[in-house]
């Protein structure tokens, strides 16, 4: 019997030729990530072990959630992270001003390569599967332990084969694809499984699409999402200065899958996930009755340059609806700077949007766009759980940058085609 992409990476990192579903393994890890929320308690756990860090070059610490610090308590947590980074000479600590949202930042910094294992104390660590890595979210105890040992334990997951075919329609992007998948299989449809993407439709997807899709594998309950390597992947890695040797993986022809999901890209439309679960997907075009107070464009899901380009395409020459606050957050400083050079930031400000320095901020109800009682936001973020962006009686609707920008202009949820004719 053959192996899936995930099985192959786990096998290689565990000193095995073959691993079977359900097997428990101790695996070497290539990169360990923590942020300003999960890093401090991970450091406390690490300190209990009383060993040095296993490799100061293989730990990434990114203060992105409540940073630039929103209050004294978050400042104390960031200081804890910073002090540890200095004490242990952690190479990949990213200070405010050089910082970005971790899952946009690390691939752009060339820290992720195909075939690698990355664990992060952040559930959206699964983003890196877009680069053919096995990447998954863990807790802070796992990260604390791994910072000492360089290893972690895994159960080999079952897999769902997602076959993508056809071409994307004009306003459909990665967000619509993954929300449609979650709508089909449910928020626990891939629980403890890997989502393994394949099919001719992959060639249609940009790297930003693939990052967005893998980012939300967790929203279907998935352990990880993973794409094979193609020409676009190789170009990305080259641009990002990944020169260390890497070995990509492809699934064996007789790899075993729990189920197969066929997605015909031609048939997709821009969708919106209604509160309070990402599986509550509806076509954006059928959601005009939903009036919004805020539109957030950014996050580890959709804060990349291509996402901002789509927002700019919609907002060029337009005005944000008088009743709407539109908050746009480039995911990294580099993306911010490139967006400025391309004129996007001017477009956003002229349209009446607020543009912020990189932060996770509103996505998790931290700061920079919190909702009041009864308020409603459309957002390119990843979760619409109760109270996620603020008051327990506020609502979040998840969508792509195209759809979030079009909705910001019209004041209600709208298909991008209603603004961009």
């Amino acid at each position: 019997m053959g192996m899936t992409m995930t099985q192959k990476i786990l096998a290689k990192h565990s000193g095995c030729d073959f691993v079977s579903v359900g097997e428990l393994l101790i695996s070497q890890v290539d990169l360990i990530l923590a942020n300003d929320i999960t890093g401090p308690p991970a450091i406390d756990e690490f300190n209990k072990i009383g060993k040095p860090v296993f490799d100061k070059n293989k730990i990434a610490l990114v203060p992105d959630h409540f940073s630039p610090c929103k209050d004294i308590k978050s400042a104390e947590m960031c200081k804890h992270l910073r002090d540890f980074a200095r004490q242990h000479e952690i190479k990949n600590y990213f200070e405010v001003g050089r910082m970005g949202i971790e899952h946009a930042l690390l691939p752009d910094a060339g820290l992720i390569a195909p075939g690698e294992i990355i664990i992060g104390a952040d559930s959206h660590t699964c983003t890196y599967g877009a680069l053919n890595a096995m990447a998954t979210g863990v807790g802070q105890t796992d990260v604390g332990a791994a910072m000492a040992s360089g290893t972690t334990w895994f159960k080999v997951p079952k897999a769902i084969k997602v076959v993508l075919t056809g071409k994307k329609p004009r306003f459909v992007q990665g967000k619509d694809i993954i929300l449609t998948i979650i709508g089909k299989i449910g928020v626990d449809g891939a629980r403890y499984q890997s989502l393994e993407f394949c099919g001719a439709g992959i060639a249609e997807l940009t790297m930003a699409d693939r990052f967005t899709i893998c980012n939300m594998a967790i929203e279907a309950g998935g352990k990880n999402g993973i794409f094979p390597v193609d020409e676009k992947t190789r170009e990305f890695l080259q641009e990002r200065g990944v020169t260390r040797p890497w070995t990509s993986v492809e699934p064996d022809s007789d790899a075993e899958y729990d189920r197969v999901l066929n997605i015909e890209l031609d048939k997709l439309v821009p969708v919106v996930a209604y509160p309070h679960l990402p599986e509550n997907t509806h076509p954006a075009a059928e959601s005009n009755h939903i009036i919004i107070d805020q539109s957030v464009i950014g996050s580890c899901t959709n804060g990349r340059l291509e996402d901002l380009a789509q927002a700019a395409e919609v907002l060029k020459g337009q005005k944000i609806h008088p009743h709407v606050r539109c908050i746009i957050i480039p995911a990294t400083q580099e993306i911010y700077k490139n967006a400025m050079a391309l004129g996007y930031i001017d477009i956003f400000i002229d349209a009446g949007a607020a543009v912020s320095t990189p932060t996770c901020g509103p996505c998790l109800g931290g700061y920079m766009g919190i909702l009041a009682h009864g308020e409603r936001a459309i957002s390119t973020t990843n979760r619409n759980f109760r109270g996620r962006m603020g008051h327990v009686d506020s609502e979040v609707y998840l969508a792509s940058p195209y759809t979030a920008a079009a909705s910001a202009v019209l004041g209600h949820i709208a298909d991008p085609g209603e603004v961009l004719k």
Partner: protein
């Protein structure tokens, strides 16, 4: 005897402990906000040895270990669910909070029921109903971590 706190499907980490409180580094202080977005009575009324019983996909969402930690801080003896989200399950084991995944049998347990749970045997008794549910014991590897009181103690014992 343990009192049951009964919840439904897809109880996410944002309602177990809302992110707006995650700037609180002290876990005891943080635990005063446990479950508050879904059940404002929980944090002030839960007693040590009480048990949370829930439906599918308990703990979905964020990787924040603060979620199992605040429940453990509140003295919750164990969590029984139809199924658990992967990261929550792993985090609970790593901190030594027992989690029992028992599938649809969970529907037999209602709010206010009184339970006795034998974690080693995987045996749940609904005392007031005279029902016994037999579950699979935890995998051996996981039991070792649980017995050590969590992953860090387990690792320290190894070296």
């Amino acid at each position: 005897m343990s009192k049951v706190w009964r919840y439904g499907d897809h109880i996410d980490t944002d309602v177990i402990i809302p992110a707006r409180y995650l700037n609180i580094a002290d876990f005891k202080e943080l635990s005063e906000h446990a479950m508050e977005d879904i059940d404002t009575s929980f944090a002030s009324n839960v007693k040590p040895q009480d048990i949370i019983v829930a439906g599918r996909n308990f703990g979905c969402g964020s990787s924040r270990e603060h979620a199992p930690i605040v429940l453990q801080q509140k003295g919750v003896k164990c969590i029984i669910a139809d199924s658990f989200a992967r990261i929550f399950y792993r985090n609970a084991i790593n901190i030594g909070l027992p989690v029992l995944e028992i599938g649809q049998e969970v529907e037999q347990i209602e709010a206010g029921d009184e339970l006795t749970v034998d974690l080693l045997k995987g045996e749940i008794k609904i005392v007031n109903k005279g029902i016994t549910i037999q579950t699979n014991p935890l995998p051996e590897f996981v039991q070792k971590i649980a017995n050590a009181g969590g992953l860090i103690n387990y690792i320290k014992g190894e070296h």
